[in-house]
């Protein structure tokens, strides 16, 4: 039933046989399709948001608040997360030598919850499109009280319900993947590939952290609908929300970043023609990130007047988390160094992702240092930091995964020239957009404000140019996928074998 190629389990996904597709692959594929659609919607939000910033008359300020909220929530929960789980479903069972999912029903249910999550989270926009009297949520993706408790907009309640659906779906998926590896694995633990390790760690983190979001969302709903006082009044405190939220959300960002690290590790090793340098260390670093990232949530709250001693403690654990992250980066660079590099689309995309990871990491470490964080907290600098990580690293790594697994999932080649053009536009766009935001942040411009002094207009315009370039690039990506899935040249069973791959003129470097 499964065809496996010796040394590279992730490189070969069981193919459709006799018209039947294994459950895990179907669930994975559907997750990916969902993520693609939601990514388009979230991307459209971003494009409108950038337009509102350069031509405010075209979109009212209130819309701007809604746009950055729905953009963030959509990209994190409806795009990045499902995309990552999609790859995990499609790849991990084959990679661990399992013939099927354990708890396949959980996986199917997780899939079915996604549209419900989308409906809830995007209820405001959907209602608006249907002409109803609701407005999209405009609280920011962090739903901070008291703003989120005071807004009477019913779309906020629906969005919180949507988040509960995300939690349920995620926990089911994580449980399903963990159980599959534990019960159906036929490969020794230490022989598991790095992508599988990263998925395992992320799944474990998700199981531990997402229920906290569920609890916080239930409390907030109760404050809103039942007038309880968890986050307000004499009994509660808005700070409680922040603690709960960031205790969940910092692990969330590592749930989102670890599997992409796994993809990059795999792709870099594969197209350098060697094992990842420091493979064992990389596995330990992954696990270390998993544990440590539960201890650093306070670095999002430096501005809340927390006890200085706690601040210093959070600063040091945050710097400690940066350590295993940089170990990973060094492993990639060392692998590339002296490797026999084949510049395929997944490889080029991964290399660009490593570049953005470095910038995101450096800007993050600067934020973690208390004195600097105090200055840049709440400015566009933070926006630039996490977008270098999320768009630059997570986004590009997901694209690398898409190119890498496309021939395996569809049995066809994508168009390598379009892929190269797509990558060029995406990387240049991200660099331009977020370098501009970084400059705005360094100049002290606060984030989440629709208006700004005139002198900053050129930087905002530049950021808009970058964002639109990314959008153009993704149109080409989707076009390539659709076209190639139907009429691309057939790919061999092991498309990435040393002599394989769609050729471009300079695929080989000494």
């Amino acid at each position: 039933m499964i065809e496996m190629e010796g040394t590279d389990p992730v490189g070969t996904i069981a193919r459709r046989e006799g018209g039947t597709e294994p459950d895990y692959r179907r669930i994975g594929r559907r997750h990916l399709q969902f993520a693609l659609a939601m990514g388009a919607w979230g991307g459209l939000d971003a494009l409108l948001l950038r337009t509102a910033l350069i031509a405010p008359e075209l979109l009212p300020a209130r819309t701007y608040d809604a746009l950055f909220t729905t953009h963030g929530v959509t990209m994190l929960f409806l795009f990045a997360l499902p995309a990552i789980w999609g790859f995990a479903y499609a790849v991990v069972p084959a990679a661990v030598g399992a013939d099927r999912l354990a708890f396949a029903r959980a996986g199917r249910l997780a899939l079915r919850l996604l549209p419900a999550a989308a409906l809830g989270i995007r209820a405001g926009a959907i209602g608006r499109l249907l002409g109803l009297e609701v407005a999209p949520v405009a609280t920011g993706w962090t739903f901070y009280p008291p703003l989120s408790t005071r807004m009477s907009n019913p779309a906020v309640d629906l969005a919180l319900v949507g988040l509960l659906a995300v939690v349920a779906s995620t926990v089911l998926t994580a449980g399903c993947l963990l159980a599959t590896v534990r019960r159906r694995r036929t490969v020794r633990w230490l022989d598991l590939d790095l992508f599988t390790w990263s998925v395992l760690t992320a799944a474990a983190m998700a199981v531990l952290s997402f229920p906290v979001l569920a609890a916080a969302a239930v409390f907030l709903l109760s404050d809103r609908l039942l007038a309880t006082g968890f986050f307000a009044g004499s009994t509660g405190s808005p700070l409680l929300w922040q603690h709960l939220f960031w205790f969940f959300a910092h692990p969330l960002v590592y749930v989102l970043v670890l599997p992409p690290m796994g993809i990059v590790s795999h792709v870099v090793a594969r197209f350098s023609g060697r094992q990842l340098v420091g493979r064992r260390t990389a596995i330990y670093a992954t696990l270390a990130i998993g544990v440590l990232s539960f201890t650093v949530w306070g670095h999002h709250m430096f501005a809340t007047g927390m006890d200085p001693r706690a601040r210093i403690a959070f600063m040091y654990v945050t710097l400690a988390v940066a350590l295993p992250s940089s170990i990973k980066a060094f492993g990639w660079l060392a692998t590339l160094w002296r490797g026999t590099v084949r510049l395929t689309a997944p490889m080029e995309t991964s290399i660009a992702a490593i570049g953005f990871f470095t910038v995101g990491g450096v800007t993050g470490v600067a934020l973690a240092a208390v004195p600097l964080g105090a200055i840049y907290n709440g400015t566009h600098y933070v926006v630039a930091h996490f977008h270098f990580m999320l768009a630059g690293f997570v986004g590009l790594a997901v694209l690398a995964g898409a190119y890498y697994w496309f021939p395996l999932l569809t049995g066809r080649w994508y168009d390598p020239r379009l892929a190269a053009l797509h990558l060029r536009l995406t990387a240049v766009g991200i660099a331009v957009a977020f370098a501009a935001l970084l400059a705005l942040g360094l100049a002290g411009l606060p984030r989440r404000a629709a208006t700004y002094p005139a002198a900053y207009a050129p930087l905002h315009q530049l950021a808009t140019v970058g964002a639109a370039l990314v959008a153009v690039g993704q149109l080409l990506f989707v076009w390539n996928l659709l076209r190639s899935a139907r009429s691309g040249p057939p790919a061999p069973v092991d498309p990435w074998a040393a002599d394989g791959g769609p050729r471009r003129t300079t695929t080989e470097s000494p």
Partner: protein
């Protein structure tokens, strides 16, 4: 399975990246044109008058003519041309605020000049090349035969295709501009156009990055070969005078006549936006903002240009070139004054703009422009030919017309009626000269 089944980049032809390059270039072209045409309104919103707009256009044109004067071998790679254009548009978009950001003392006008300089390579040598609209309509690149231009995307190799594509791009950009200006004023709308154009330019740069320019022989079959001389070519005034004096009197008169008509066009093209902006706004009960109306009019103009280019072969076949030329240019000459007279009547303005755009149909017959003005083989009726001026004279005319937008701006500052009336007088004078030479 063997690697032969893998797609390879040598799959020539109209691949998807070529298509992306062509579409992005055409869109960029259109947006550059719209930005150029609305620039005076943008400057007005910033508190600058028509003379400032004339300065920007004249400087941009001077650089473009200088670049056009370089030999074809000196051309920049087309990705670089597109990237420079994108940069120029970004500078335009931010012009009013860059000083505040960087602490430079250039003022908005200074940055607009920088942007115009960056855009010059695109105007001289871009994918669509000079096509007689935008700044090009206002100066020496106006109505050139499109012999320059890196339109080597296969699609766009032939100048006629290029002009068609350019008109389509301008029409599309005009639609976008109309929508933008319907929601916002010149001060915010202009940067939106410029930013969008920059995105298209960068997309073109990315799409064109791995393609080389075609070998020159490839383009040998195109009519552009008929006039391969550099655009300026006024290296030596004495030589120019010698050449001028050696020309037959009929050719000289024709050159003067056609040159006057071109000067008339160049004087007013840039100010049209100001006329419409001022004229339409006084119309009562109008829902469309004047700038939006102007953008639509530019769209109509480019449809006129499209029709003109499309009709050219048929006209060359059938019409009597001399009557065509004098008649057509006479109509063109009365357009400026009519625009001022039309006031707020958008329907009349639409007709006038369409006629203004349709002058592309006359291009082959014009003594200082046409590449195909000679008689079709076999037709030895000399009534079917018009005089053609030699390349040096054309270069001199182009160089002289660089100053037209500045002069036009100054005249407009004096009085719109004076500027547009003078343009019409000059145009009619030119037509009279022409009819003397061909009659």
């Amino acid at each position: 399975m063997d690697t032969a089944t893998h797609p390879s980049p040598s799959d020539a032809g109209l691949g998807p990246t070529t298509l992306v390059f062509a579409v992005a270039s055409v869109a960029c072209h259109g947006l550059v044109r719209l930005a150029e045409r609305t620039l005076p309104a943008f400057l007005a919103a910033l508190g600058w008058g028509p003379i400032a707009a004339g300065v920007v256009a004249t400087v941009g044109l001077a650089v473009a003519v200088g670049i056009g004067g370089l030999g074809p071998g000196d051309s920049l790679p087309r990705a670089a041309v597109a990237a420079l254009a994108a940069l120029g548009l970004v500078v335009w978009a931010g012009a009013p605020a860059i000083d505040g950001l960087l602490g430079t003392p250039l003022s908005a006008l200074g940055w607009l000049l920088v942007g115009a300089t960056l855009l010059a390579a695109w105007n001289a040598d871009g994918v669509v090349g000079p096509d007689g609209s935008g700044f090009a309509a206002t100066g020496p690149l106006a109505d050139t035969d499109g012999s320059r231009g890196a339109g080597d995307a296969g699609l766009l190799r032939d100048p006629r295709t290029r002009h068609l594509a350019g008109a389509v791009g301008t029409a599309g950009a005009a639609g976008l501009a109309a929508a933008t200006f319907a929601g916002t004023g010149a001060d915010a709308g202009f940067p939106v156009l410029a930013v969008t154009g920059a995105v298209c330019g960068l997309t073109a740069a990315a799409g064109g990055a791995d393609r080389r320019r075609p070998d020159d022989p490839d383009r040998g079959d195109s009519p552009s070969r008929a006039d391969p001389t550099p655009v300026t070519g006024v290296s030596d005034v004495a030589e120019l005078r010698r050449e001028w004096e050696s020309l037959p009197a009929g050719v000289r008169t024709a050159a003067v006549g056609d040159g006057l008509v071109r000067a008339a066009t160049s004087l007013v093209a840039l100010s049209l936006v100001l006329v419409v902006d001022a004229g339409v706004s006084i119309a009562p009960g109008r829902s469309l903002p004047p700038l939006s109306a102007f953008a639509l009019l530019v769209g109509v103009e480019s449809l006129g240009a499209l029709a003109g280019v499309a009709a050219t072969p048929a006209i060359v076949e059938r019409a009597d070139p001399r009557r065509m030329l004098t008649g057509g240019l006479a109509v063109l000459a009365v357009v400026p004054l009519s625009v001022v007279a039309a006031g707020p009547d958008v329907a009349v303005l639409g007709v006038l703009f369409a006629l203004f755009g349709a002058r592309t149909a006359l291009r082959p017959f014009r003594p200082t422009l046409g590449g195909r003005a000679t008689a079709p083989p076999g037709a030895d009726d000399d009534r079917r030919t018009v005089p053609r001026t030699p390349p040096t004279v054309r270069g001199a005319i182009r160089a002289a017309l660089v100053l037209a937008p500045l002069a036009g701006g100054a005249l407009y500052a004096l009085s719109p009626v004076v500027a547009f009336g003078l343009a019409t007088s000059l145009g009619l004078l030119g037509v009279r000269e022409l009819s003397r030479s061909v009659g």
